[in-house]
Symmetry: C2
Subunit: 252 residues, 2 copies
């Protein structure tokens, strides 16, 4: 890496950098500095703001998460939030749907819940809120930013929660809920055991599909929140097995 670019990063460590000032300090043209900044931005080392640059904000969200935050997901998360308010402690699993739920909690920021999670995005969403946040330990997976593995599972045993909140990758209305990741599945299974109640929030597109492993049967789940895109048959199957079904009208 270039000597000058290294210096730019150094200057940024202590805050923001103004192009006009930094150009003279570095003894180069603004144009040259801009070119450096552009390169550094492409490498996600800095973020260009108007007139200058700041250190790249450590995003605690997988690349995919932002694009998956549809209005529908928030509507579903909101509906669950209404139901779950009286809870004192909840476990929020990793995944974009449960992250939406964490964001709803943070935005409302009304009740001092205790939130246990293995998701860094969720923890970072909530750490400024009035909730107490407990993070499971373990190996940090860099693409999903969650903590899984034996340590995470073992830590889970230390806790009991009123609610487990989870998403899923696939669901069959007569069989249960799937995830495509075996480590996640193991953790989900364990978390079901420490929770008094379990809720799954998912959009209806997940129904009628399978994924790698089933982590919960219908009996395991107390509450399912989804949109109104599932078939009447599916809805019957679900309610028939005793779980409560909440369907959000798609237009909400």
């Amino acid at each position: 890496m270039h000597q000058r670019q290294r210096k730019i990063l150094d200057m940024l460590q202590r805050g923001k950098l103004l192009i006009r000032e930094a150009a003279v300090e570095l003894g180069v043209t603004e144009m040259t500095l801009r070119r450096d900044l552009k390169l550094l931005e492409e490498r996600k080392l800095i973020l260009c703001v108007k007139g200058g640059a700041i250190p790249y904000p450590a995003k605690y969200e997988p690349e995919s998460a932002a694009s998956e935050m549809t209005d529908c997901k928030f509507a579903i998360a909101n509906a669950l939030y209404q139901r779950i308010m009286p809870a004192e402690s909840i476990f929020i699993s990793a995944g974009s749907t449960s992250l939406a739920f964490a964001k709803v909690i943070a935005r409302c920021n009304r009740l001092p819940l205790t939130v246990i999670t293995n998701s860094l995005p969720a923890a970072s969403t909530l750490f400024r809120s009035c909730c107490k946040v407990i993070l499971l330990g373990g190996e940090l997976r860099s693409n999903s930013l969650d903590l899984v593995g034996p340590i995470a599972e073992k830590n889970l045993e230390e806790y009991h929660v009123d609610w487990l909140i989870s998403g899923c990758d696939a669901a069959l209305s007569d069989y249960g809920f799937y995830t495509s990741d075996i480590s996640v599945s193991n953790l989900e299974k364990k978390s079901l055991r420490i929770a008094s109640h379990a809720a799954i929030i998912t959009d209806s597109s997940k129904f009628g599909r399978r994924a790698l492993t089933r982590f919960a049967t219908l009996d395991d789940i107390d509450l399912l929140v989804t949109d109104d895109g599932i078939s009447p048959d599916d809805a019957n199957n679900l309610t028939g097995s005793g779980l409560e079904l909440i369907q959000i009208p798609a237009g909400t």
Copy 2:
């Protein structure tokens, strides 16, 4: 809050917003939108970048950290990095000095170390790097963004590291190293036990002072990296007790 501003925040959930596009979508002038964005930026809800805005990047650093990232700290961290390269696994404790060290590791990004830490800032600095990151579990303290407490300490027992890297709040050259936080101290003591070697990095201003609790004696520490601002007496005391002392010239 204004209806429109709320909508702006919603639009941002899914990524960035372009002023030109969003203005038509919201049915207002660019000027009006700009004024909204300015207000939202003042409230640290968004960050304006050229031509648009992004969600406010959640800072995974205590407020104080940025201002404490002096050149001196980086020089010290760099010196330690040179020494520690052959290590395979290291524990990085919480604190602004060890965060500087994490940043050095991330910036160089050369060796695939295994890094265990109880510091979210450190974890977030390193998760994109070639290092494997392991996070201790426990309660997340919202001001320092670190994990402490019995769970964190218990997790620590699962690991062994080649190096412990820590800062300190105060130091006496004939007695040892202090921190002003009892939870941190407990964790530090435990981490000393799982490490083959221990290094402390600190600027010289910490010398000659005490803080709440001593977490390490001179014997516990193998390597001390600091600047050249400590007295000859202090230097003698330190080297006399068998630890290796590295002093960085202040001008570096």
